[in-house]
């Protein structure tokens, strides 16, 4: 007789592995998650470049002070957001008529599905973002060993948070159409108002407040400071705060996801 158990790690690792394998076997997903932000970066970046005058933002953009350099960390976050959305949106159909049906009748801990999904989404998001970092020199940003060492934790916590946002939106949904609506009115503005696309004004205005309260701002901030020329400059320019607040945000998203799965698993 099997003992009554609520399994966590073995199933979570299986979900994780499955997400990565599926992704690698679907070339169009790799292209979709990288090409869209690339085109976006080049078009928007080149078009806005000449009107990019904000002194604080020019300083934040690094040595060249170009908009392409300023926009680069924002694009990394957008890549992660897209990857996370693609890897979590499948949950909707998967649970109703796919692989996850089997997971719902297995003796699993309610954390098993979110853990596997978060790890899978994070892995894919971080790999794609690192791949995109090969283009950093084009933007005039340095990308050496210490930048990568700083980037890794920043990308991992941001990827985890982005996957968390995707999972929280996808899990309660019954249709992928609903997901697209939420993506447009909630996820994209969250990214736009994070300092990714344009510098959020300092001071006391409402935009500043939005940037302060928007958890995505801190991921963008952490990634932006990773590109600083020296480690001490990075650490003094908001890297630590960015990573910590994003990690906290990711942890909250994970906890809420587990609660949701627990509630949802016996509905209907």
């Amino acid at each position: 007789m099997t003992k009554p158990t609520r399994l966590l790690l073995t199933p979570a690792i299986a979900f994780w592995w499955r997400d990565v394998i599926r992704f690698l076997r679907q070339r169009n997903r790799i292209i979709g998650a990288l090409a869209t932000p690339l085109v976006f970066w080049l078009l928007v970046g080149t078009g806005f470049g000449p009107s990019f005058r904000n002194p604080a933002a020019v300083a934040a953009a690094g040595a060249t002070g170009s908009y392409l350099a300023y926009f680069f960390p924002g694009i990394l976050v957008l890549i992660m957001l897209f990857t996370a959305i693609f890897s979590t949106i499948s949950v909707i159909e998967d649970r109703r008529e796919g692989f996850l049906q089997g997971a719902l009748v297995a003796p699993l801990s309610p954390a098993a599905i979110p853990l596997g999904k978060f790890l899978g989404g994070t892995t894919l998001a971080v790999l794609q973002a690192l791949l995109f970092c090969l283009l950093a020199p084009l933007a005039g940003l340095p990308i050496g060993l210490h930048q990568i060492l700083l980037l890794l934790p920043a990308l991992i916590v941001t990827g985890f948070a982005m996957t968390g946002l995707g999972f929280l939106v996808a899990w309660p949904m019954d249709s992928t159409q609903g997901f697209h609506a939420i993506m447009n009115i909630f996820l994209m503005p969250l990214w736009m108002m994070s300092g990714a696309l344009f510098p959020m004004p300092a001071g006391t205005g409402w935009l500043h407040l939005v940037a302060m309260l928007n958890p995505v701002s801190y991921g963008v901030e952490a990634i932006r400071s990773s590109f600083a020329p020296t480690i001490s400059e990075a650490l003094s320019s908001g890297y630590v705060t960015g990573v910590c607040i994003t990690a906290l945000f990711a942890a909250v998203l994970f906890a809420v996801s587990v609660r949701l799965v627990e509630k949802r698993s016996r509905r209907g």
């Binding site: 099997t2 399994l7 209907g268």
Partner: protein, 333 residues
């Protein structure tokens, strides 16, 4: 809940479940013995999917109780899940993965890994004749092979009870025969109890016992032979001319012969022990009124008609899971 009953693999007591105004299950009780091949037969929307989801621990009943292998599906869901293999109507295999990869993932959901998992995979693949297809991606397989791979995945945990939701949906007749041969083999060699939902009469006729479910109620329960022999003879169906009308003819026949005649979907239907003699007599007495005449051994469909007074057609569709097109999603994944 009464004390756990180990002679019965599945026990359901007075299960009730409503979706808004509609009662999907209206007090169903049944018992499935260990090692039995049991069919839940009913039209789509009759309640069998709701019952299936409650037994599979995916849905909670409003009232009543159910137990699998002696464990309550509500209060001891983890114990039930550890002993239960579930084959869903829409495939739960990942089409992008091979059979072997799917089986490894499936085993991991139950904490199986390493050498133990590999030996279970070999055992399950052998039981379902999949050994030489293990490295094929699932999306390249035929519907029948996919279904067998689904069952193989369920066998990894050596379940005491298998639940199958419309397992032959989307299968060609040959693959259906294979599926039933596989189930019978599992029962013979491993003592697995299997409960299948189906809306196909021919399929239900192969089961040890059949429960007919309609409008959320159990309308008949027994072996296929018991159910059909209870009909009391053969079944005569009469096509009726427009001028006479089926209702009129049925009334006249009952008045003249004293034999009950009913109208089902525009035809007059009579059960009778000496159907041939009666048919000859009726065709002599009502030559103009009868346009066609059919005599048949009773089938489960006749049992359904006799118990419900209706043809076995789709009823109101259930509010959940109905938009799922049956079986045709198989090759997309």
């Amino acid at each position: 809940m009464s004390a756990p009953d180990h002679r019965h693999a599945i026990v359901a007591r007075d299960l009730v479940k409503s979706f808004g105004e509609r009662r999907a299950l209206d007090g169903i009780s049944l018992e499935v013995r260990q090692g039995e091949l049991f069919c839940l037969l009913g039209p789509n929307g009759g309640g069998k999917s709701t019952l299936f989801r409650i037994l599979a621990t995916l849905s909670l009943p409003d009232s009543g109780s159910a137990a699998i292998a002696g464990h309550d599906v509500v209060t001891e869901a983890s114990e039930v899940r550890a002993r239960l293999g579930v084959v869903f109507q829409s495939p739960s295999l990942d089409g992008k993965l091979t059979i072997l990869e799917n089986l490894r993932c499936g085993g991991a959901l139950y904490g199986l890994k390493g050498a133990g998992l590999e030996s279970r995979i070999n055992e399950a693949a052998k039981a379902l004749n999949l050994t030489d297809r293990l490295n094929d991606p699932v999306e390249t397989l035929s519907g029948g092979l996919q279904r067998r791979a689904e069952i193989a995945k369920c066998l990894l945990i050596r379940p005491e009870v298998l639940l199958l939701d419309e397992p032959s949906t989307g299968l060609d007749p040959g693959a259906r025969l294979d599926l039933w041969a596989a189930l019978e083999k599992l029962r013979a060699e491993h003592g697995v109890t299997a409960l299948c939902t189906t809306h196909l009469m021919e399929e239900a006729a192969r089961a040890d016992r059949v429960a007919i479910v309609s409008s959320g109620k159990l309308v008949a329960l027994g072996t296929p032979e018991e159910l059909t022999s209870a009909i009391g003879g053969d079944v005569i169906s009469l096509g009726v001319s427009r001028e006479t009308g089926a209702d009129q003819l049925a009334r006249t026949i009952t008045e003249k012969t004293g034999i009950p005649a009913t109208v089902v979907e525009g035809e007059v239907r009579i059960e009778h022990r000496e159907a041939y003699q009666l048919a000859a007599r009726l065709s002599g007495e009502f030559p103009g009124a009868i346009t066609s005449l059919r005599i048949a051994r009773p089938t489960l469909e006749d049992v359904f008609i006799a118990r419900t007074g209706r043809l076995f057609a789709d009823q109101d569709v259930e509010p959940e899971r109905t938009k799922t097109a049956k079986g045709n999603k198989r090759n997309k994944r």
